[in-house]
Every structure is written in C-alpha cells, then in structure tokens.
C-alpha cells in the first residue's frame, strides 16, 4: 500500500507538471491565430477507476475490474467548448489563469503529501 501511494503521488506530480506546461503554452498563445486550447484530463479518470476498484479482480477474465491506478494515463485533448475569437483562437485567459493557480496549489498539496509520506517512513526507520 505504501509503495502504491508513492507511485500514485509520483504519477500525479508528473501529470500536474505536464499540465503546467500546457497551461504555459496556452497562455503564450493567447493571441495566436487558429490556436485551440489544450487540456489534460487525469483526475476524472482516476476517480472513475477508484469507483470501479471496489471489485477485486482475482482472475484475468474478470470483467469491469479497475486497472492498477498507476497505470492510468492522462488524456490530452483540444478544448473546443469555449467561445472562439474572430481569429479562430479560443483561449479564455481568465480560465487559464485560474487553472494555473489551481494546478499550482495541487502541486503544493502533492509535494506536502509526499513529504509526509517520507516523514512517516523516516519515523519507522529511526524509531
């Protein structure tokens, strides 16, 4: 369980780090003609998998079992939902700035979790 936690935290940090790149790219392309916003979906997939994971898969032919949570990969998609400016660009700068703050806080939360995890391990080792 401990290892699983660390692996999941590592994966989440990777995803949040990559999302930062995407948001930075979206912001730098705020006026680029025909640019469409990129987004990265991950937490929702994790949530879905967690819901499915109440059923334990004990046999390879079992249906509906969740994969290992760490095997879930983020999905990159183009956002076409928001309003399009006249140059074909659909970056909503307010959305991007909020997403960025959110992402940043999420990174902080994850590092805090990771540090706590290591602190616990440390306690176990040093008594």
């Amino acid at each position: 369980m401990e290892n699983m936690n660390l692996a999941l935290l590592k994966k989440s940090l990777d995803v949040v780090g990559m999302r930062q790149e995407l948001i930075a790219s979206n912001i730098s392309n705020v006026n680029t003609p025909n640019y469409k916003a990129n987004k990265l979906e991950f937490e929702r997939l994790l949530e879905q998998a967690k819901e499915g994971s109440s059923l334990k898969v004990t046999h390879a032919s079992h249906l509906g079992g969740a994969n290992e949570l760490t095997e879930i990969n983020p999905i990159l998609s183009k956002n076409t939902g928001t309003a399009v400016k006249e140059n074909g660009n659909n970056i909503d700068i307010d959305m991007e700035m909020v997403n960025q703050t959110q992402n940043n806080l999420q990174y902080q939360a994850l590092t805090a979790q990771l540090n706590a995890q290591y602190a616990r391990l440390n306690t176990v080792i040093n008594g």
Partner: protein
C-alpha cells in the same frame, strides 16, 4: 533539461510579446516619417507568429509525438496601404502637392500596445507559477 520546459514555454511568450512591443514602438516613433532609406514613407510593420511545437519525449504515455511548445515569431509583414495627404509646403510633396504619409494608425497601435503588455504580464505570471512549482519539487524530502 525537460523539467524547465514550462519556464522555456513562458519565455517564448515573453520574447514574442517583447518583439511585438519593439515593433509597436518603432511604428509609433515613425508615425510622421515620410522619407525612408527604401524610399517612400514609413510602412507600418506587424509581427506574424504561430504556435511552436516540440517532439515529445514525455515519460507520461499520452499518445502524442509532438506537443505545443509555446509560440514563435515567423516574420514581420509590412502594411502597404497608401495614405496621401495634401500638403504643398512639405519638402516631399509631389507636383500636385500631395505627400505620401506613413500608414501608422495611432489608435490601432495604442490598442495593440495594451494587448501586448497584458499578454506579457500573463506570461510573466505563468513563469512565476512554473518557478514556484520547481521550488516546491526541491522541498521533497529536503529535511
């Protein structure tokens, strides 16, 4: 270094906005220029830019080989609309008394200036956020 990607992306945005700012400044400075080295009045210049891409070598398997990597300038275009004004006293006036004026529109330039400054600020904020995250990463198990 891959971990500095987000900083480099923001930097590409900053440098593009800086280039736009320089171009706008040149346009404004030359609003009344009727004589240039190439002959004729000063022609308004505009930066053209597009999304930049990078081959992806992400550790995360998300099924793409190239990803958005900020923005890059592709060139400068000149606006070649002609503006003629009647001013027979002007040294550059033709026989009929008309002078070819620069086609810089001050109102347009000021609006572009504001947009550019705001975009620059947004990129600077983004850079700051990316930097914060890297600093956070350094605190992992730092005790």
């Amino acid at each position: 270094m891959t971990i500095f990607n987000s900083l480099n992306i923001s930097a590409s945005g900053l440098s593009l906005e800086r280039l736009k700012l320089d171009t706008i400044s040149t346009n404004i400075a030359n609003v009344n220029t009727t004589r240039t080295e190439e002959g004729g009045p000063y022609q308004k210049k505009e930066v053209v830019f597009e999304e930049a891409f990078k081959q992806s070598n992400q550790s995360l398997n998300i099924g793409i080989s190239r990803k958005s990597f900020g923005v890059r300038a592709t060139g400068l275009v000149e606006d070649d609309t002609e503006i003629r004004e009647y001013d027979p006293e002007h040294p550059d006036a033709d026989e009929e008394g008309y002078v070819l004026q620069s086609n810089v529109n001050m109102a347009d330039e000021m609006i572009n200036l504001m947009t550019t400054i705001r975009a620059y600020e947004a990129n600077a904020t983004s850079l700051e956020a990316g930097k914060d995250m890297l600093k956070q990463a350094l605190t992992i198990s730092a005790k």
